[in-house]
Every structure is written in C-alpha cells, then in structure tokens.
Amino acid sequence: MASASARIILICSGKGGVGKTTLTANLGIALAQLGERTVVLDADFGLRNLDLLLGLENRIIYTAQELLAGSCRLEQALVKHKQEPNLALMPAGNPRMLEWLTPDDMKTVANLVAERADYVLIDCPAGVEQGFKNAAAACHEAIVITTPEMSAVRDADRVIGLLNSQGIKPVQLVLNRVRPKMVANQEMLSVEDVTEILALPLLGLVVEDEQVIVSTNRGEPLTLNGNGSPAARAYRNVARRLRGEEVPLHDPSRERRGLRARLLNKLGLAGN
C-alpha cells in the first residue's frame, strides 16, 4: 500500500517540448532540498529523457519493467541521486512495453514508489493517447505546464479537459519560457491572458533562461547547486508553493515596460 501522505503529482502539457521533463527534474531536486523524500517517475516510455536531465543515465540497471515483472526489488530499481540523497529516479522501461502497459500497471508502479516517498512526480509523455492515459491513471493531482504560445495553450486546454473529466484535482498551472520584453510589447500572450483562458490557479512563472540549456548539457538541474538564475528561483518557488507556503508571484513583464510599450499605452493603443 502507498503511504497515506504521499502526494502523487502528474506533470503534463499535451504538447511536447514545453518543459515537462525540465520541470520534473528541477522540482524534484528543489523538493528534495526542502527535506521531502521525492521520487521522479519517468512515464515517457517511448522517449525517455528524465535520466539525462538528472545526470543519472549511466547508473540505470533496473527499470519499471523489472519492477513490474517482480524480477528486482524496489530499492534496486530506484536510482538515488548522487548529490541529493532525498531524490530518486524510477526509470522508464523499454519502449516495447508500450504495447502492453495498462493504466493499472502505472498505478502499481506509482503506488510502489509512493511507499518510500513524500512526493512522487510523474513525468508524463506528450500527447493525449495511451501513454498519457496510463500516467494520468496513477496520479492524485496534476501540474499542467505550458508556454505562452498558441499551440501550447490549446494543447494544454485539451489536457485540462481530460484531467477534469477524470476527476483529478487540484490541477495547477506553470507558465514556462515567458519573455518579459515581448509581453511588455504585447507581442506575446501575457500571464493574465493564459490564466484567464485556461482558468487554472498559477503555481509558477518561469522566464526564458539560457541557463536551462547549460544545466541540461551538464546533467545538473539548475536547482541543484544554489544557482541564482531566474529560472532556478522560479523552480524553487514552485516547490515552496506546492508545499503550501505563500510565495508571492511577481510578473517581470510588468516591470520591464519599455519606452515603446509605455508610449503605446499612453496613446491608448495598447488594448486591455
């Protein structure tokens, strides 16, 4: 049985490439640093990458496949993080498992790892097909991550509809890769636009940050080494809010209003 207190949270987006895996890795590290026993579960069996972002790709011996088959113990399959002992990875199994994997199988894996955890973060595959359905069946609550781009918001909306129909709640929103200057110039959907359209509470706001790419190259999530970059701070704040701490959200696009934006505003051409 799962421990009564473990929170099993799905991290999903619908569209690929908006930052699910990066959020899972960084949030996992940040929660672990706050003293929470955290397991990140890679549910993207087709295109797994969570191991790579955490720098654990060379330490995988067993996967969810062996765990389900009963050919290894839970402690053997869980890959402990080198620098952050509160964090462990449950690696995705072989892509061929997708042929037979069921929602009940994912539930089994999630409940097994939940025995050893306060938080289980499930890195969901892109799309709304079987892989998503398997992962969604295993979670209690969800974080939807999107970028302020039309296609990403539309796909997020579809996913939110599916989560709602399955009675998963709360569902909270993380808005990723915001470019404050473009928002100030009204050339990008604003934070308010996206939260209004998707009608979800905002759990976090992450600005576009080159450091994310650098940290991925190194296999060291930004939150790992006390990095002070804007994205690292944003991920840590997501972790704190998730634990119920009140952390004010500040929208950098409101501060960085350029001369042009202010001029347009003054002339009443800015709209809402």
């Binding site: 039309m150 539309r154 509809g161 110039n185 009204q186 050339e187 990008m188 604003s190 347009l264 709209g271």
Partner: protein, 95 residues
C-alpha cells in the same frame, strides 16, 4: 519589433500580435471545448433562425449565433435583432 510594425500599431492599423493570439485562441477553444465544428454550427445557426423567424421578423444580416467561452464554460450566444413580431403568430407564418 520592426520599425514598420511599430508605426502601423502607432497609427492603429495593426493589432499587437499578442492581442490577436488571445482572440484567435478564445475562438478556437470555444469550438474545441464544445466539440462543434464550424459546419455543424452553421447548420444549427440556420435552424435556429428558421424557428425564430416563425414567431418574429428578424434582421438576417445582423443576426449572429456564436460560441463564447469563459471559465471553461462554453455558451451558445445568439444575438438576433427583432424587427417586429409576426402578426397572428405561428399560424400566420405557417400559412
């Protein structure tokens, strides 16, 4: 933002693309959420107009039936300016 775009916006000739994105999204999501395609909506619009016309004379050019969405609730909104009631009601219209 290129200078030309900036001037266009300053002159009020062009909407900022962020505003345009929001408007387009709201429209497409209203359709996505209701699972109604434009063709079906058009058929429904025509049938609604037919029914309403039995009772009142409406301005067909001004009439508008569309989907709107707010807080994840989608509503069918009809705006049908009435010219006048049909004298004699349904019977007269049917006859």
């Amino acid at each position: 933002m290129p200078v030309l775009d900036f001037l266009q916006r300053l002159l009020g000739r062009q909407k900022p693309s962020g505003t345009l994105a929001k408007e387009r999204l709201q429209l497409v999501l209203a359709h996505d959420r209701s699972d109604l395609n434009p063709e079906l909506l058009e058929r429904m619009r025509r049938e609604i107009l037919e029914v309403v016309q039995k009772y009142v004379e409406i301005d067909l050019d001004e009439g508008d039936v569309s989907l709107e969405t707010e807080d994840r609730v989608t509503a069918l909104v009809a705006n049908l300016p009435i010219k006048r009631a049909r004298p004699g009601g349904v019977e007269a219209a049917a006859g």
